[in-house]
């Protein structure tokens, strides 16, 4: 069987162009999808690509490269706008998972319950997809298209995430609601980032909700309603502010419960981000 472990991006892109491969980074989603069976498809293992573990600040953005793990994010020194992402990193699966799983892999797996999506969305993250000849950058809501569906072509490799400095402001909070403490898939989760100006007013704000639609969603209407408001004022979340969410009944909770819980989680996340 084919198992490729390129050490440079150019080599990886060349391999991706030659044939459709199963992309594998930390392996924490790929192996469970194969249960106890041996994987038979060609594998493109990206874990040894040089530079893929980087988390770095440039002049106008922060960058997280494709192989950076949740543990890398927890251990990185990051501004408070990343608090939500760092909290999500601590809440993913278990330390065993956090040590191996890549954040980009979490997005490429495109689970509606991907812990990485809401905290990255509130940072206006974009993802870079590359082929041998092209590079394109997509906002996350253009990249994740549905349950287990992304815009990545079979010859494309997701190489990095980019958080513009203009959005790396304020503080963020991540709240994950599940039926147990560890090793849990969320019933609902919320990331909120708030920038409060010198006058105590909200000058910028971003709220994203996961596990309540096929793809995590920003609550733009809510965000707009909050800009200019006094940070200390209590926030009431109305149903209209949750448009775009379409939760389902499943083994974890009912749809009605999810909507009800999201209102509470959003209010708490905002309060936390402004505290």
């Amino acid at each position: 069987m084919d198992y490729h472990q390129p050490t440079t991006l150019a080599e990886a892109l060349q391999l991706a162009a030659e044939k459709p491969c199963l992309m594998l980074s930390g392996g924490t989603d790929v192996f469970p999808a194969h249960a106890a069976k041996q994987i038979s498809a060609p594998v493109l293992d990206l874990s040894r690509v040089e530079g893929f573990r980087r988390i770095e600040e440039t002049a106008d953005e922060w960058l997280i490269a494709a192989g950076a793990t949740w543990t890398d994010v927890v251990e990185a020194k990051l501004p408070p706008a990343f608090n939500a992402l760092q909290q999500a990193a601590r809440d993913v699966g278990s330390i065993q998972i956090q040590n191996r799983a890549s954040i980009i892999g979490n997005l490429c797996n495109a689970s509606p319950a991907a812990d990485g999506a809401p905290p990255l969305m509130v940072l206006d993250a974009e993802i870079t997809l590359a082929t041998r000849f092209t590079t394109r950058r997509l906002a996350l809501d253009q990249f994740i298209l549905g349950n287990r569906r992304t815009a990545r072509g079979s010859d494309e490799i997701a190489v990095s995430l980019h958080m513009p400095k203009s959005s790396v402001n304020g503080r963020s909070v991540f709240l994950k609601l599940g039926a147990r403490k560890y090793l849990v898939i969320s019933i609902a989760m919320v990331a909120a980032r708030v920038v409060v100006d010198a006058g105590g007013r909200i000058s910028d704000c971003a709220v994203a909700v996961g596990s309540c639609a096929p793809v995590a969603k920003r609550l733009r209407r809510l965000e707009q309603s909050l800009i200019g408001a006094q940070a200390a004022a209590p926030v009431t979340i109305t149903n209209a502010m949750l448009d775009g969410l379409s939760p389902i009944d499943d083994v974890r909770a009912t749809a009605a419960y999810r909507l009800s819980a999201v209102k509470e989680l959003v209010a708490r996340a905002l309060a936390g981000a402004m505290a």
Partner: protein, 894 residues
């Protein structure tokens, strides 16, 4: 591919995509790394890669080229392993290697961790036995001192570490999947993907020709003897392979045998079976409907069995009552979720069959396999491996028949290890229940009457359904004096996985209904929930619901009294945010130990070799609960030698007499009594020969027995057929009496009792429940080993928490450990165990059973505490956040 494993350079030849867990186990023979799920859901396979923990089942070996791997075999008998032993942190031991590795990573950077740090670091490893408390203790206190070995006669009551614990913490313990003979073939079971379907199997010859490495296919026609098995003689109804119709999702229809490699890569979709999907009935409601098909031909109306207990004048009882409360509760299927999936191998030795693997009932397995193969029982040998958790499900056959049939025909060893999904889909579950209960009391709060109607979904085959149906009406009164009583149970066949034995045989479900209803009744009377229970607690001399009267040993009042200080403290108001409500709840249990009105013997043999070795044939399977230790403690004191001088021979059916099955909380009581009798008998033999005083000090060593001033040289004595110069073999069978048509009689010689108090917080905006503390008082008669008693209490509570708050097995939907949730480290409250010792009239040293009792009060106490916190009673389990919030919103609407 080069890497370092436990400091040694190794070179792997397996394909680069191979899971590290498989490479370690199959190629390097390091079987200390366990596979529980192959999905990162359980953490049993945790190893360190360059010092960082990882699930070895999720790592392709290509990624560890050049890396340094540490497995449990690489721990050097360090303080952590010793601490696990001394704290009692390992029960069955299957999760222990994963726990040790996760803790090793933590202690490397945080030598004195806080409780929260331990929980965070170990939170990715599941344990189903311990309730995690002793694991946390061990990691936080690795410097714990040794307990000195008790002297002759002092073993009973001593807090000694498990006698079989060394192998569990070293990773050397061999579980079902850890031993595979050279040149074994492997077996894959073809199972129905439908809840009900007719099927035809096409040309298997062509199929075999097209699949390299596959050597044989077996179906129903290849079963040499009886294509049926079961655990109760009158209800032997489950085929090894379905013949024409599969009646639950996961039922076996065929088996494919081949090389390890061929089975690993085999795609079951290529097997030539055609399915015709049929209408399925998955609930008792559907199966009892007049239009329903028969689940099994020959069982019209789909009713497997009914149970009934009645006493007093039920109608008058209610008529004369001041307060009556009627409630209905439902509970779902619950999965045992032991971390060890079923595994083992079979080999034919001449015309005998040997079966190695995990089980709770070796002698029952032997009988059933003999029938399936058409052999005499003596021609089947069951060699139990260590058992990585059982909780009732490993009482039934699962993997054994397939490999036995295959090995018989092929005359080659044949091995199997169930996948997690296969284990969850095909093995037995706790019965879903639908219970309507009516309880009444007089003006003073004395219970006058209880009427109980329970319908249990028993799945497609009988398994232990009849036992559940019989036990439930005997126990549904709870440990309360109830003058007028009627309880009826019905086990209904459906197109679901068979429901069987699970820690409590239907009693936990029943006590949820009773104990939650009692809180409502106490409120009607205006009584405190604890006082109400104390007022009604069964006392010595009062008849049970079956009319049995115990003159001693009824310990429920003592358990309730023991909770009083915690109860008074917990009721004090606490400051907290408005949306967080504190609640406190209480519930009790009682549970009869051993079979219900049926013979239930255990036999224990002790022999002395010419060298002076004292050998205990300990046939009571230790599934983690500690029978290897407890039975030995009892035997040692009865014989009068130090406990550590006894050598154990395990439950191999060729070597050790039948000590019955590990179920019904019977081993300490029944096998313990047999061990006591056997130890005493052996001592009597020695005393008779030496004619010394009864209490003389006995020493057996170096080929000589020394007692008082006398000595016996052992080498010169004749040995018996078992190789012993002195031997005793004694049997104990508990005295019971049959139940009559009204369920009156003496079903058990011994009951155990308990009461638990739960303190928790409810987030009334999210419906989430945070457990704060559980105080558990259990009457064990005599704690043979207090550390193991605590371990049982903590572990039972963990399963009770799961049942209350998160566990919900849905056939075809939650067949993995990320959709089916069991408690993790972070879901456990502080647990305070209070051991009560009200001496029993029959148990060894007055001891009573405990294993099942401990989980019974937890769920109802939690539900009562939730209601106490926020007024909402959740009647349909599990009380997940959505159900709790819906119940709160319902209360707010009223």
């Amino acid at each position: 591919m080069k890497l370092s494993v436990n400091g040694k350079a190794r070179d792997l030849t397996c394909p680069p995509v191979t899971r590290l867990a498989d490479a370690l186990r199959d190629e390097l023979k390091l079987t200390g790394t366990k596979i529980g799920c192959n999905a990162g859901d359980c953490g049993a396979c945790t190893v360190l890669i360059d010092g960082k923990s990882a699930c070895a089942c999720l790592v392709p070996v290509a990624q560890v080229e050049g890396a340094a791997i540490t497995t449990v075999e690489g721990l050097d008998g360090n303080g952590l392993q010793t601490a696990f032993l001394r704290h009692g942190a390992a029960q069955c031991g299957i999760c222990t290697p994963g726990m040790l590795m996760a803790a090793t990573e933590l202690l490397a950077h945080t030598p004195t961790p806080s409780r929260v740090q331990v929980e965070d670091a170990l939170g990715g490893v599941l344990c189903r036995c311990t309730g995690y408390a002793k694991i946390v203790d061990a990691v936080m206190d690795i410097a714990i001192a040794d307990v000195p070995s008790p002297a002759s006669g002092d073993a009973v009551g001593a807090r000694i570490e498990r006698l079989d614990g060394g192998l569990k913490v070293s990773g050397e313990e061999l579980f079902g999947a850890d031993e595979v003979p050279e040149h074994s073939l492997h077996l894959h079971v073809i199972r129905s993907p439908h809840h009900r379907a007719r099927f035809t199997i096409a040309d298997t010859e062509a199929f075999l020709r097209n699949n390299n490495g596959l050597s044989a296919v077996f179906t129903a026609k290849d079963v040499p003897g009886l294509n049926r098995f079961g655990v109760i003689p009158a209800f032997v109804d489950q085929p090894v392979f379905a013949v024409t119709e599969a009646i639950f999702k996961g039922e076996a229809v065929a088996a494919v045998v081949g090389t390890a490699e061929a089975i690993k890569t085999f795609d079951s979709a290529t097997f030539p079976v055609h399915w015709e999907v049929l209408q399925a009935a998955q609930s008792p409601g559907a199966a009892l409907h007049a239009d329903s098909h028969f689940i099994q031909p020959g069982r019209p109306k789909n009713t497997l069995v009914e149970g009934h207990v009645e006493r007093g004048e039920i109608v008058n009882g209610f008529a004369q009552s001041a307060h009556t409360v009627t409630q209905r509760f439902t509970t779902p299927f619950i999965e045992h979720a032991y971390i060890e999936p079923e595994a083992g191998y079979a080999q034919r030795v001449g015309n005998r069959m040997e079966i190695y693997g995990c089980t709770q009932a070796p002698h029952m397995d032997r009988e059933a396999i003999a029938d399936i193969l058409g052999l005499a029982r003596t021609d089947v040998r069951v060699m139990p491996s260590a058992c990585g958790g059982g909780f009732g499900s490993k009482l039934d056959l699962s993997f054994q028949p397939f490999i036995a049939v295959a090995a018989w025909h092929l005359n080659r060893p044949v091995a199997i290890a169930y996948t997690r999904a296969e284990s969850m889909a095909s093995t037995t579950k706790r019965h879903p229940s639908d219970i309507t209960i009516k309880v009444a009391c007089d003006l003073e709060g004395k219970i006058t009457a209880t009427d109980f109607e329970g319908v249990f979904n028993t799945g497609a085959y009988a398994s232990w359904g009849p036992t559940v149906a019989n036990r439930v009406p005997v126990h549904a009164s709870g440990p309360y004096f109830t003058p007028h009583y009627r309880a009826h149970s019905k086990a209904v066949l459906t197109n679901c996985a068979p429901a069987g034995a699970f820690r409590g045989f239907g009693v936990p479900q029943s006590m949820i209904a009773l104990e939650c209803t009692l809180d409502l009744l106490a409120e009607r009377v205006g009584m405190d929930a604890l006082e109400f229970r104390l007022l009604n607690a069964l006392r010595n001399g009062e008849p049970t619901a079956t009319g049995q009267v115990f003159q001693k040993g009824v310990g429920i009042a003592e358990c309730l009294e023991a909770l009083r200080p915690a109860w008074e403290r917990a009721k004090q108001p606490q400051a907290r945010p408005l949306h967080i409500k504190r609640g406190v709840g209480i519930a009790t249990c009682w549970y009869g130990c051993g079979n219900t009105s049926l013979p239930n013997p255990s036999t224990i043999r002790i022999g002395i070799t010419p060298n002076g070795d004292v050998v205990l044939h300990q046939g009571a399977i230790d599934i983690g609960q500690g029978s290897n230790t407890v039975i030995t403690q009892i035997a040692a004191d009865a014989l009068g030698i130090p406990v550590h001088h006894l050598k154990l021979v395990g439950p191999d059916t060729d070597l050790t007499p039948d000590a019955g099955k590990t179920s019904a909380s019977r081993q300490t009581f029944v096998s313990g009594n047999a061990a006591k009798k056997s130890g005493e008998a052996l001592r009597a033999l020695i005393l008779r020969e030496t004619n010394v005083a009864d209490d003389a000090i006995l020493t057996i060593a170096d080929g000589t027995i020394t007692i008082a001033t006398r000595s016996i040289a052992l080498h010169d004595r004749p040995i018996n057929q078992h190789g012993y110069v002195f031997m005793s073999e004694e049997t104990y069978d508990p005295p019971t009496k049959p139940l009559d048509a009204m369920g009156q009689g003496e079903p058990y010689a011994v009951y155990g009792y308990g009461a638990q108090l739960v303190e928790l917080n409810v987030d009334t905006k999210l419906g989430t429940v945070k457990l704060i503390r559980i105080t558990a008082a259990h009457d064990v008669g005599k704690a043979i080993n207090p550390m193991l008693v605590e371990g049982q209490i903590e572990g039972g509570i963990a399963q009770g928490i799961g049942m209350a708050l998160m566990e919900d097995f849905i056939p075809g939907r939650t067949e993995n450990l990320h959709d089916y949730l069991i408690p993790t480290f972070g879901d456990m409250p502080e647990i305070k165990s209070i051991i009560i010792e009200v001496e029993d009239g029959h148990g060894p040293h007055g001891a009573k059973g405990l294993g099942e009792h401990v989980l019974i009060p937890t769920a109802p106490a939690i539900l009562n505490a939730i209601r106490n916190a926020c007024g909402a009673l959740v009647r349909h389990l599990p009380a997940t956040p959505d159900k709790v919030l819906a119940a709160i919103q319902e209360v707010e609407r009223l």
